[in-house]
Subunit: 187 residues, 2 copies
Amino acid sequence: MNSNAKEEILAAGRRMAQAHGYGGLNFRDLALDVGIKHASIYYHFPTKADLGAAVARRYWEDTAAALDAISADISDPLDCLRLYPDTFRQALKNSNRICLCSFMAAEYDDLPEQVRAEIKTFADVNVAWLSRMLAAGGAVEDKAVDQRARAIFAAIAGAQLIARSRADIAVYDTLIEGYRAAGLLPR
Amino acid sequence: MNSNAKEEILAAGRRMAQAHGYGGLNFRDLALDVGIKHASIYYHFPTKADLGAAVARRYWEDTAAALDAISADISDPLDCLRLYPDTFRQALKNSNRICLCSFMAAEYDDLPEQVRAEIKTFADVNVAWLSRMLAAGGAVEDKAVDQRARAIFAAIAGAQLIARSRADIAVYDTLIEGYRAAGLLPR
DNA sequence: ACCTGAACACCGTTCAAGT
DNA sequence: ACCTGAACACCGTTCAAGT
């Protein structure tokens, strides 16, 4: 267990931050979840800022891997784009959680600089992947690709946020369908 | 001053909640801002839940009034829709704050039921106004009006959230322009 | 190397008591 | 009616001590 502790802290920290944010991430509940004493967490992460940054970094690393897996498995970039909303849907399915970085975006004022840097990278990773799919799919003019990628990312983050506030995943599905109907997302 | 205290608490509470959320709304800083002792706030609002609900209620009441003023002043519903993103832009302009209800949507898990009810009403107020404008504008099929109204509301909330995470209002403007280019918002 | 008990300082929250 | 002092509870952090 001891060699796994760091990984378990990261996993539990991610779950906690996706439900309660950086402010709601606390060493005592985290320790309870992992099954160690709260002081022990400081052995692995010297400060809360370090923990938050590590959790956010692991989060975008996992997201980048998941997106790459999609585009490696599926040859049609438009099919990849059609699957993209599902990556955000999974957080809602997991006890009405949201994207860690959306939550932390709201908490921007209270975030240590190192944490801010990681959530910026999360957005960059998503926009870069969307841009690649859009460019390869050819459904959008070249000069509009970046703008459209950013619009999709922001709109989907918003849909997830609003769906959470109703604790109803059907709200998310309806919003995504609305984006498709409006032409923001490919059919 | 004492008869104004309640109003000043509401105003300061709104500012604080738009920057730090319900979790970051705290009686000590609030009291410092208003100029009374922190325990005094409990005379006006028995619990934090009461304060949060009152702040959120006042927030949607103010928003409803502002939206009604727009649609009363401007006869063309499409012009009203063109102005809608500006209501969310103002929060960002005000020290990179966001919509109180977006922040609280993220905090859903930790919200008292009475606060949840108020942020639900905020969304309802916005969607109802957008639906009226869309229906009157005739730019969207009747049966798609509600879906489009919800999509616009969620997408704009998302744009505001992402712009905050960059502390850059130009990001918001670009995202809104992206929504227009994609056909989600009227040109 | 990895973990723990105990303590500290700070701050949000509460409530009985003041005027 | 309106406000306050003082206590309580919690949390991030530290550190000497355990295995």
